[in-house]
């Protein structure tokens, strides 16, 4: 390997980037805008679920119950229906996500001290919102139920019943259970994976399509030098992007950051190497730019959004899919980022994911060097 040849390739690549200010702008602005849009937009916190009520009882008790729903910050009553037809229409149109139907004999049942069911009709097309809304509704009903019991005991003069046992729960690392706190580090990983793949996945196919590859092949440059020379300039750009994204995450979105900056820089650099290497591998394998771009889109966007643990918890996936996630580079980086941000983990504690990324980088390096042949057909 000769440093001189490597430098020449890297310089040529940099000049090419420099001469295309539009691409450079996109590369630098894209992460900024993505971070801003996604950072604001991505949230799983559910509040103000639109509710439709249908009070078939119309008694003071049923009104008390519905008032509790009105007072809850998790619900917003958008409609007071007067028939089942109206309720089902509201659900069909998506005007409300949940409908609370109080049965006609609600107050009689309460007076005779029976267990009284209240119906909750849920729009379960989005099952996650539905089950969270159901949990909130359960809580409201429980409060009401306890209130009814208390009144009854006061009326009959019985001593108040104590709850036998309670769960005293504490949440660690993300006390307020804000989805943003874990989503923001995930977005950084996603944006970097996308930018990285986009930077290198067309580098070789472009040379093939434009016909400059023949010239490149006739030079004494070796496959390894070519790879390093092609990746080096983009590594610099990638690190710049990473710095931008991480600063936005920490300073703008105020994602809690408990770890060490050096750990962050080292692991980010490693991840970028993997991402850029993967892009280069795609580019070496596919000679047309459309093809390379399609493959790059599919192998980065889908796995990072779906299989990295960024949104969907990996331990809930079936075993074969869980096995596939071990092949997803961003899985390790998402773990690393979340741990550094929320748990303040050190390099040593992150040993396993870091080792996996190193292995990943090595395998991709070997494959990418081999995939490129200095022959014309």
């Amino acid at each position: 390997m000769k440093l001189q040849r490597l430098k020449a390739i890297a310089k040529k690549e940099l000049i090419q980037v420099w001469r295309d200010p539009r691409s450079l702008m996109i590369v630098l602005l894209m992460p900024l805008m993505q971070m801003a849009l996604l950072g604001y937009g991505v949230s799983l916190d559910i509040q103000h679920v639109p509710v439709c009520t249908y009070d078939r009882n119309g008694s003071p008790q049923s009104q008390d119950l519905l008032k509790l729903f009105e007072a809850s910050p998790y619900f917003k009553i958008v409609r007071d229906a007067s028939s089942y037809h109206e309720v089902s229409q509201a659900l069909d149109r998506g005007d409300c996500k949940i409908a609370i139907v109080v049965p006609p004999d609600f107050s009689q049942h309460l007076d005779t001290a029976q267990a009284t069911p209240v119906q909750a009709l849920l729009d379960a097309t989005d099952d996650n919102t539905a089950s969270i809304a159901m949990g909130y509704a359960q809580a409201v009903i429980q409060t009401f139920s306890a209130h009814v019991q208390l009144l009854r005991q006061q009326a009959t003069g019985q001593p108040p019943l104590k709850v036998a046992t309670q769960a005293q729960s504490r949440v660690w690392f993300n006390e307020d259970l804000e989805s943003r706190n874990f989503v923001i580090p995930g977005i950084v990983a996603m944006v970097l994976a996308l930018v990285g793949a986009q930077l290198t996945s067309l580098t070789l196919s472009r040379e093939w399509e434009r016909g400059t590859m023949e010239v490149l092949i006739s030079t004494p440059v070796t496959r390894f030098e070519l790879m390093l020379g092609k990746i080096a300039p983009y590594f610099l750009i990638g690190m710049l992007d990473a710095a931008l994204c991480l600063s936005i995450a920490v300073f703008w979105f105020q994602a809690p950051f408990n770890g060490a900056v050096t750990t962050l820089i080292l692991t980010t650099a490693l991840f970028l190497l993997v991402v850029l290497g993967l892009g280069y591998l795609i580019s070496a394998g596919i000679r047309s730019q459309v093809g390379a771009s399609q493959v790059a889109l599919l192998v980065t966007m889908l796995p990072t959004t779906l299989l990295s643990g960024f949104t969907f918890p990996i331990d809930q996936m079936p075993a074969p899919i869980r096995a596939i996630t071990f092949l997803v580079h961003s899985r390790y980086y998402v773990t690393i980022l979340k741990s550094i941000f929320l748990k303040g983990s050190s390099l040593l504690q992150l040993g396993l994911p870091i080792l996996m990324l190193v292995i990943y980088a090595a395998i991709i390096g070997i494959l990418a060097t081999r995939a490129f042949r200095k022959t014309l057909d």
């Binding site: 295309d20 539009r22 691409s23 996109i26 993505q34 604001y40 937009g41 991505v42 799983l44 559910i46 103000h48 639109p50 659900l91 069909d92 001290a113 267990a115 069911p117 909750a120 729009d123 379960a124 097309t125 099952d127 996650n128 919102t129 539905a130 089950s131 949990g135 509704a137 359960q138 009903i141 139920s145 019991q149 104590k162 709850v163 036998a164 046992t165 309670q166 005293q168 729960s169 504490r170 949440v171 660690w172 690392f173 804000e178 874990f182 996308l194 067309l202 472009r206 399509e209 596919i286 459309v290 771009s293 399609q294 599919l298 966007m301 959004t305 299989l307 949104t311 331990d315 809930q316």
Partner: protein, 376 residues
């Protein structure tokens, strides 16, 4: 005119037929994507890894713990012997939930006092944590009620239970609360977006970059005819993708399709207008494929993430919610889920159809005007 359009369409299809890999890339990755989505995309919570520290070691404490493991929601992966071990397990993510029952738990229970069971939850993934906490409360509450009933029976004999109000949930459209039903139909929207925008923008930018666009422009073909000839094949591919994914979803995953297929077909056609419009617009902004690629990423990712596909639009800040009105994916997802799961028709979905038609017309008009200009 139709002859010339037909010729271009034919040329595109011949090119596609010759390139085995191009066809492969059109069919296989979407299939893989649907299947992976079907299995992997879930917010449901089962078998949460749970660490247990039972310092009480009585019948009551064991009963409570066994209720956790029998619920199917929690899987006890560690029987700890000290608080330190619990702390370690949570910190290393070996366990997401930890249950600690202190010494004297059953003594308090028997005295009729409120006994506390301590629960620690790793909130790193707030969604899982929130749902798991819900189950924790439900299990402990049921245990408390059963215990109180037993106590009352033993002390006073059979007594009428205190009045209570219970919630009777009826999930409509997706009675099993199955995440798969929510996500797999949605893949139609995101996949056609990713593939079609990319294909359309590249198809034209490639001609420009390689220089064949000028050759085409000296032939008698008009720019409108050229655009139609270029986009019709992708329109067909889009429709084929929709059928491929819908077929896999219903046949492989058994997702119901209760609505009218014609409504979905009409919705898809309107949606494809917007998607083709976006692709064309990108192609007028870029002169090299590298630029087109960067722009595609730039555009597709927010459209995809801010569509309501996985993150509910209602959870976004108001400004973001307004911005999503400009996103065609948002409307198409409502149409897809409406036809698949709710079985509603045009009487309910007409606002979405109108919005898609407006967006599609606007995008196509702008891009065609810009395309004409970019040729001069």
């Amino acid at each position: 005119m139709f002859g010339r359009i037909y010729n271009i369409v034919l040329k595109e299809f011949i090119e596609m037929r010759r390139d085995v890999w191009a066809r492969f890339r059109l069919i296989v990755p979407p299939l893989i994507q649907v299947i992976v989505f079907g299995y992997a995309a879930t917010f449901e919570v089962f078998n949460v890894s749970t660490a247990v520290l039972d310092l009480d070691q009585t019948q009551e404490s064991r009963e409570l713990i066994s209720r956790f493991s029998y619920s199917g929601r929690f899987k006890i992966t560690l029987n700890a012997r000290s608080q330190a071990e619990i702390k370690n397990a949570i910190e290393r993510s070996d366990a997401v939930v930890a249950i600690v029952i202190h010494d004297g738990y059953s003594a308090l229970l028997r005295k009729g006092e409120t006994a506390q069971a301590q629960v620690i939850v790793d909130g790193t993934n707030s969604n899982t944590a929130l749902i798991a906490l819900g189950y924790v409360n439900e299990i402990v509450m049921n245990f408390a009620q059963d215990y109180a009933r037993d106590m009352a029976r033993r002390l006073h004999g059979a007594q009428p239970p205190p009045p209570s109000v219970t919630l009777e949930p009826r999930p409509w459209y997706n009675a099993g609360l199955n995440s798969r039903w929510f996500f797999v139909p949605g893949v139609i929207a995101t996949l056609t977006l990713t593939l079609i925008v990319n294909l359309t923008s590249f198809a034209i930018v490639r001609e420009r970059e390689v220089g064949t666009l000028e050759q085409i422009m000296v032939t008698p073909i008009r720019s409108m005819e050229f655009i139609l000839g270029k986009t019709i094949p992708f329109f067909c591919i889009g429709l084929a993708l929709m059928m491929l994914i819908a077929g896999t979803g219903t046949l492989w995953f058994g997702i119901p399709f209760v609505g009218n297929p014609l409504v979905l077909l009409l919705g898809t056609s309107l949606y494809l207008m917007s998607v083709l419009g976006i692709g064309l617009l990108i192609s007028t902004l870029c002169s090299t494929q590298q630029q087109a690629f960067a722009t595609n990423f730039f555009v597709i990712n927010p459209l995809f993430t801010l569509s309501g596909f996985s993150f509910p639009i209602a959870s976004m800040p108001m400004l973001m919610q307004y911005l999503t009105y400009l996103n065609p994916v948002r409307y198409y997802l409502v149409i897809i889920r409406g036809t698949f799961l709710k079985g509603v028709g045009l009487d309910v979905l007409w606002p979405q159809f109108v919005a898609l038609a407006l967006l599609g017309t606007a995008l196509l008009t702008i891009s065609i005007l810009r395309f004409r200009k970019s040729l001069d």
